[in-house]
Symmetry: C2
Subunit: 120 residues, 2 copies
DNA sequence: TGTTGTGTACCAATTGAATTAGTACAGTTA
DNA sequence: TAACTGTACTAATTCAATTGGTACACAACA
């Protein structure tokens, strides 16, 4: 379910955060689904539990998951949180557009690149 | 000519590198134009000369500038180097497209965002 | 010639973020 | 009670970025 990519340049914490957001966006997880426990996921990824807990804390802070002591962490049903994720994705993508343009790519170039990228 | 943005998340070195690439792409600098000296730019940016020199070394390594001991550093005329910059910009942008899609944005969404971004 | 400005090459030290390691506490479930 | 969950700390480590400093080689110029 979660697979780390050490070549991505992203920190472990970031990757865990983003992966659960993706799983929701892709429909592979739904609101209410339970996440692996902090310790279990840390063990599976061969990573320190603190790192996973930090990722879960970020997700909970953003309203994407909710955690209950003694029970576990669950994917939130709150659509507002997922709207916020979408907002951030748009902002990040817009920044990428600006960067690409500043390096000489035209609007047509960018549209072509978007369309060339297959939707999996 | 060069202005640092500490909120950008980019390192000083990265910002210097990217800024000169931009200046060339935007036509504000041409092949043969002299860059500020390592020490002068470092002083202007209130930054360590080593940091600027590292940026210049990266630019020279990529063929974007060439440096002559005792004379200075100059923007290269080599189009192949600038083609490589374009290649990298395309690769980076494609990665941004994938990320945005994984977070739930559709192809239409992305095209809209590209077109919404004014060309300055 | 000497001086100044240029790029280049080191090295030691510092800073900050990310991660690890370890311990402890609180709540749930069986 | 025992075994699981999340949470909250602190200390140590690692690594990249940056700083501070010194030194050398070359070019331009008075």
């Amino acid at each position: 379910m979660i697979q780390l990519d050490y070549k991505s340049g992203q920190s472990i914490c970031e990757q865990v955060v983003n992966r659960f957001i993706q799983l929701k966006a892709l429909g592979l997880m739904k609101g209410g689904d339970q996440l692996p426990s902090v310790r279990a996921l840390a063990s599976q990824l061969s990573v320190n539990p603190n790192t996973v807990q930090k990722a879960y804390a970020i997700l909970e802070n953003a309203g994407i998951i909710y955690s209950v002591k003694g029970k576990g962490s669950f994917l939130s049903d709150d659509e507002r949180a997922h709207d916020a994720v979408r907002q951030k994705a748009e902002t990040d993508f817009t920044a990428a557009v600006r960067t690409a343009k500043s390096l000489g790519l035209s609007q047509e170039d960018l549209v072509t690149l978007v369309l060339k990228e297959e939707t999996t």
